[in-house]
């Protein structure tokens, strides 16, 4: 089985090779319906060809030819099979050449072999830019624009044609002249040539039409499309566009009066056009080197965002302008991810105006910092430039930038590209951490600066002040602790009064004595230090000590009073009275101590 299929394949290959070599043999264009659409500034030539195989063997491909004069201007070529049901299969094209013949040739690979004697309906489409030449090349503001198209009456083909018609669609009824091969019929904007019977292969016959065409002859001389991907959820798109009116050049003065008053003045000039942006486009801006262009309107529709782009001034023949349009897109619509794998699927070139022509395009895709293993799938061939690095806010080693260029693009080139890359998600944290680190360093420096003394000279006064302050702080805590001891003692006495446990009272008294002694000695040592620093606070501390001695005495006395009460040596009334006076005196002393402490 496998051997047999391999054999068939080899056979087929052989047959294919044979048929391409002797390409003209066998295939015949049975019926050709050609349409040359000249209603815009582009020439759009479509042909519906019924192809039949009159040869002996089946074929897998056929050759599509482009006229030699038009070939350099060709922006797009495409072919599709037209089946019985309305299914259009676009076909793959490969450029080839045929010896001894002018023009460009493309080999169209058929989806299935065309057996001998079989027929196939094919539709081909070609777009040519800059083939409508303004003639005269210079017109005044009041004049209308006339253009000349030069082409071929016949389908340029390597195969003989049995029958063909050519229909030319113009932009207006006004036609200066047109070639009259085979007595063509003209109705309104349409000229019909043919039918021509039995046309030989590679036959050419000059078609020339000179007619009025006031459609906007706008050309994007260069466009730079920058797509910046952020993993924080945003894709920023910015297009820098150089626009030129490539119709007949304005001769003589430009009169604003005529332009405003007469509706047909400057009829070929361009006032505004519409750009269609993706539906999710936000924050659209339209500006140039000198700021926002205030003459634009934005309309949000269901499936798109329409910008009415109005250049600062109307564009007459030969005039040019330059602007920047940009917007943001949410990344979830265009960025696909699986683990560390990412894929960005976006339009390589987007709509600028209807029937657009782009002479030169540069696409820059800025991927996030740290994207690796990048590879790009493009819908058609573009010229890749070496990758660049782009630095923006908080970047350390730069974002990879893919750069690609292409010449001569039209609407048919609005197709998606896919960029695959891998990105380690940890790197998302790099920039926040950088900011955190920077602030950390800043605050740390401030802390260090505030806390440490960087003076090169010593300020003795300040030093003493600081020392004294620290000592007083210590004194304060010690004095407070000492006052706490008294409160504790009071509790002990109260408990004693209820429990009448002399042992507990004595031990309480002992601990009070001991603690009080250590605290007092500590305070007096601090007092001595204050004295050596020469601070007058030492005296106040001495006063506190003196007062404290009295408080201590009172506490002891209340303690012994309580003992006597418990021992039954005094009556309750007298005890209460003496206790009252004692506590009163104590309160007074303590408040004096407090006021002294406050003054410290």
């Amino acid at each position: 089985m496998t051997r047999r299929s391999a054999f068939v394949a080899v056979c087929l290959l052989f047959v294919a090779a044979l048929s391409s070599e002797v390409s003209a043999d066998g295939l015949v264009n049975e019926d050709v319906k050609r349409t040359v659409d000249l209603s815009t500034h582009l020439a759009k030539i479509t042909a519906e060809i019924v192809l039949s195989n009159h040869g002996q063997s089946s074929v897998q491909s056929f050759i599509l030819a482009v006229d030699a004069d038009l070939a350099p201007h060709m922006a797009y070529i495409g072919a599709s099979v037209k089946g019985d049901e309305e299914e259009h299969g676009t076909l793959e094209l490969q450029q080839t050449s045929i010896q001894g013949q002018r023009g460009e040739f493309y080999k169209v690979l058929l989806p299935s072999t065309l057996a001998a004697g079989a027929q196939l309906k094919v539709k081909t489409e070609m777009m040519f830019s800059h083939v409508l030449k303004p003639f005269p090349t210079q017109i005044t503001q009041a004049e209308r624009q006339l253009v000349v198209f030069q082409g071929n009456h016949y389908l340029y083909s390597p195969y003989p044609t049995r029958s063909q018609t050519t229909r030319v669609r113009l932009a207006s009824k006004t036609v200066e002249s047109y070639t009259k091969l085979g007595n063509p019929s003209k109705t309104d904007e349409i000229i019909e040539y043919g039918p021509f019977r039995d046309v030989a292969p590679f036959s050419e016959d000059a078609l020339k039409i000179h007619y009025e065409n006031n459609t906007p002859f706008l050309t994007i001389t260069s466009i730079t499309r920058t797509i910046e991907v952020s993993h924080w959820g945003n894709i920023a798109v910015e297009e820098t566009i150089d626009l030129r009116h490539t119709g007949a050049i304005l001769k003589g003065p430009f009169s604003r009066y005529d332009y405003q008053r007469q509706s047909d003045s400057g009829i070929s000039s361009v006032k505004s056009f519409k750009t269609i942006l993706p539906a999710s486009a936000q924050d659209v801006y339209y500006r140039d080197e000198i700021g926002n262009i205030s003459t634009s309107h934005l309309q949000v529709l269901d499936d798109s965002v329409e910008v009415e782009v109005r250049p600062r001034f109307p564009l007459f023949g030969g005039w040019k302008t330059h602007y920047i349009i940009g917007y943001n897109l949410p990344s979830y619509e265009y960025l696909y991810t699986l683990g560390e794998q990412y894929a960005l699927k976006m339009r390589l070139v987007d709509h600028v105006y209807d029937d657009q022509v782009i002479d030169y395009m540069t696409v820059k895709i800025i991927l996030p910092e740290g994207a690796k293993n990048i590879h790009v799938d493009t819908p058609y061939k573009i010229d890749r430039m070496p990758n660049q690095l782009h630095y923006t806010y908080l970047d350390t080693f730069g974002r990879p930038v893919l750069v690609a260029t292409k010449n001569n693009l039209v609407e048919q080139h609005i197709q998606d590209f896919v960029v695959h890359y891998t990105f380690n998600k940890i790197l998302m944290l790099q920039e926040p951490l950088l900011v955190v680190g920077a602030f950390y360093i800043l605050f740390f420096t401030v802390i260090i600066y505030v806390r440490l003394d960087f003076a090169i000279t010593k300020d003795p006064a300040a030093e003493v002040r600081m020392k004294v302050a620290s000592i007083t702080e210590q004194v304060l805590t010690l004095v407070n602790r000492r006052l706490g001891l008294y409160r504790h003692m009071d509790e002990v006495v109260n408990r004693y009064k209820q429990s009448r446990d002399t042992g507990a009272l004595n031990s309480g008294r002992k601990t009070l004595e001991a603690d009080h002694r250590t605290l007092t000695s500590e305070i007096s040592s601090l007092q001595a230090r204050l004295k050596t620093e020469g601070s007058d606070l030492a005296e106040k501390v001495g006063e506190i000590q003196k007062l404290d001695g009295q408080v201590k005495e009172l506490v002891c006395r209340s303690c012994s009073e309580a003992e006597r009460l418990v021992g039954g040596k005094v009556k309750k009334e007298t005890y209460i009275e003496s206790e009252k006076s004692l506590t009163g005196r104590r309160q007074e002393l303590i408040s004096r101590i407090d006021s002294l402490l406050d003054a410290l």
């Binding site: 003589g252 003065p253 430009f254 009169s255 604003r256 009066y257 008053r261 140039d288 080197e289 000198i290 700021g291 262009i293 205030s294 003459t295 600062r312 001034f313 030969g318 005039w319 040019k320 302008t321 330059h322 630095y391 923006t392 806010y393 908080l394 970047d395 350390t396």
Partner: protein, 702 residues
């Protein structure tokens, strides 16, 4: 020679830098209609401080990968610096009075319209950073007078250096500080601190200021700086006398004093004689002449171009109130407080206030120097009042009420409320002025429809962008100087005169071209090699700041230089009126400016009715011979005309070729285009020269 070359190259670099930054900042740069007065007076071109600051910030930010566009740096430079101004005003007022007054002063300067006019985002202007430098220099000066420390004085000098590099107004500092020292001497307030501060400041400041290329040797040459030198000498003499006083007896000192005085008088006398003899007396102009009073008279008499700028008109009371509001009433009170409790630094602020008031009265533009001191002194006044009337709340623990016995709580609260009301109204006024007068860019005009929708008239940018995109890269545009920077920045085209042109005769030539008839103007325009002429015309929409309204100034300036060709009286009706209708003078109705403004204007409906001047124009049939309308913006606000080239002269060419010898032919051809600067004709003439040189030896060889 070498030095000169160095300075020249520096100038060129700085100029390029300026161009670049002007270009970048052009998007939001305001319509600036002024000549830098100081650069006219001192014959300077540009102060590098602003550009260097913006460039440095941009460089540092980009070094840290904060990729800000230079344009954004330029736009936000002024607001950032106004923040710094508020801080330095706080510091200065704190030194003068107390912290509370400082805070109030900072609040005032933050919102006062007089300063906001220069510090809104997008005003990339020298003044924006200069006021910060001014305030900071004064703060450091006060600090150094207070402490007598060289450290603070050096700081002051550096700040002064920055000021010198930023704005021509530095002469205000270099006159005010000596004045302060001089006043201190007169008031017997001389001290070692003052001596140290001023000596250091003068010497270091002088040397530093001479490092700025556009200042150069002026600090030792021009009379604006002589006051500083004189005070320096005086201070040295005074200090020397003080020193001698300690060493000598009274008798000896007196003899020495008289001897010294007579010697000094002799020397001065001889010097004056010598200088007069050698004819250099003008370098010794009287020192005591007040700087800006000179400027004032100088400007009024000699330079109509300065008088023609609205910013240089004397200030009206309305604009004082408009820019300062309540502060203008309260600041004398603050001044009185300062004088009542005088000390060294309050002498300074009093002098600052008095001189600034004088300058602000001379011209509207110098309101800017008055604003900070008004804020400071008003803050002092408000702060004192609040301290007095809100005293109880703050001083809790000091019960003794000495003088405030009579103040009841009612009076206190009423006064406080009143003051707060005033401040509130001030804040409201500031917000209103800022949003109405200073927030809108003047290149974009806005009008409102009946239903409140806004209509944007973007004509200026439309026309400038057309020039930028659709004219030759080397095209030269003639326009009145007001639009010079705009054309350079937005249209990126060469202009004949711009806002920094100090060559008065050049401006006068443009004025002459505008006010002559077409054929005479064509001669001038050809000699100036003009490709396009740009004018502003507001007749269609009623824009009053257009060229016809400025036209008399052009005539006056042209008359100043070309009194034979242009006479102002020719442009008036016999009744002495300036009219554009049928009654207008024929000279006016046929001059280039009139023709360019009203070309094809007679055809619109209502026929030729000028809305700005409310008149039907007098000359509706305008034809051009040498010009051609190149572009007119949507609302006719900007009109651009193309100057046609000379028509061919075939016969002449043929004759020359056959008759005149080759040598003569080329020399004549070269001299036909002596003033051409564009690449093409230069290379043309150069080619012709080179062909003759290469041809001659060839013929010899033959």
């Amino acid at each position: 020679k070498h030095n000169l070359c160095f300075y020249w190259s520096l100038c060129v670099t700085v100029k390029t830098v300026l161009k670049i930054y002007m270009f970048s900042a052009a998007t939001i740069i305001k319509l600036c209609r002024k000549v830098d007065v100081f650069s006219i007076i001192t014959k300077l071109d540009v102060y590098p401080g602003l550009m260097v600051t913006a460039g440095l910030i941009h460089y540092i930010l980009n070094l840290l990968h904060v990729t800000v566009h230079i344009r954004d740096v330029c736009v936000f430079l002024a607001p950032v610096f106004s923040g710094l101004t508020a801080i330095s005003t706080y510091l200065l007022t704190r030194e003068l009075w107390n912290q509370g007054a400082g805070l109030l002063a900072a609040c005032f300067i933050a919102i006062v319209p007089g300063y906001i006019s220069r510090s809104v985002a997008g005003s990339f202007d020298n003044e924006g950073i200069a006021i910060f430098a001014l305030q900071f220099t004064y703060y450091l000066w006060v600090k150094s007078v207070k402490t007598g420390s060289v450290f603070w004085t050096i700081g002051c000098c550096l700040s002064y250096f920055y000021m010198v590099s930023a704005w021509g107004g530095y002469v205000f500092i270099i006159n005010l500080i000596p004045l302060h020292v001089f006043a201190l001497l007169l008031m017997q307030r001389y001290s070692r601190r003052v001596y140290i501060a001023y000596s250091t400041f003068y010497i270091v400041g002088l040397i530093l200021s001479m490092q700025v290329p556009f200042v150069g040797f002026q600090p030792i040459r021009t009379s604006e700086h002589m006051a500083a030198a004189g005070v320096f000498a005086l201070l040295q003499a005074y200090a020397f006398l003080q020193y001698l006083k300690d060493r000598l007896t009274r008798q000896e000192f007196q003899t020495l004093f008289f001897l010294g005085i007579s010697l000094a008088a002799c020397i001065v006398f001889l010097t004056v004689i010598y200088l007069t003899y050698t004819g250099r007396a003008h370098k010794l102009q009287p020192v005591c002449v007040f700087l800006l009073s000179r400027l004032h008279s100088y400007a009024k008499i000699h330079i109509p171009i300065i008088a023609s700028v609205s910013e240089h008109q004397p200030t009206t009371w309305v604009s004082f109130f408009f820019d300062l509001h309540i502060l203008v009433c309260t600041f004398p009170a603050g001044l009185w407080f300062c004088i009542k409790n005088i000390n060294d630094e309050r002498v300074f602020v009093a002098l600052y206030a008095i001189s600034a008031v004088y300058f602000a009265g001379v011209m509207v533009r110098l309101m800017l120097t008055l604003t900070p001191v008004v804020c400071m002194l008003s803050a002092v006044a408000f702060s004192s009042v609040f301290e007095h009337y809100m005293g109880d709340d703050t001083k809790r623990e000091k019960p003794p009420e000495k003088a405030e016995e009579g103040l009841g709580p009612n009076i206190k609260s009423i006064v406080t409320m009143l003051m707060l009301m005033l401040l509130m109204m001030f804040a409201v006024h500031c917000t209103w002025v800022t949003s109405n007068a200073y927030s809108s860019p003047s290149v974009v005009l806005a009008s409102y429809n009946h239903d409140g929708t806004r209509n944007i008239l973007d004509d200026f940018r439309e026309a400038y962008y057309w020039l930028r995109q659709n004219t030759d890269e080397h095209a030269r545009v003639m326009s009145w100087w007001d639009y010079g920077y705009q054309i350079a920045g937005m249209a990126n085209r060469t202009t004949l005169v711009d806002n920094n042109t100090w060559n008065n005769s050049h401006i006068a030539l443009v004025g002459k071209a505008m006010s002559s008839n077409e054929s005479a103007a064509y001669e001038i325009m050809r000699s100036l090699d003009v490709d396009y002429v740009l004018i502003i015309f507001g007749g269609v929409i009623g824009y009053s700041g257009d060229d016809i309204n400025k036209f008399l100034w052009m005539v006056r300036i042209a008359e100043g230089e070309h009194p034979k060709d242009i006479r102002e009286s020719d442009y008036f009706t016999p009744q002495g009126e300036f009219r554009v209708d049928k009654a207008g003078s024929p000279t006016l109705l046929n001059c280039l400016m009139y023709k360019m403004s009203y070309y094809r204007f007679g055809e619109i409906t209502p026929p030729g009715f000028d809305r700005t001047r409310n008149a039907e124009i007098g000359n509706k049939d305008i034809k051009f011979k040498h010009l051609e309308e190149a572009f007119t913006s949507e609302h006719w606000l900007v009109r651009i005309y193309k100057v046609k080239r000379l028509e061919n002269r075939e016969a002449l060419d043929h004759k020359l070729r056959s008759v005149v010898s080759r040598q003569k032919y080329t020399s004549k051809k070269v001299s036909v285009f002596p003033l051409r600067r564009d690449g093409f004709s230069c290379s043309l003439s150069f080619m012709m020269l080179s062909t003759t040189y290469s041809c001659d030896p060839h013929t010899h060889l033959r």
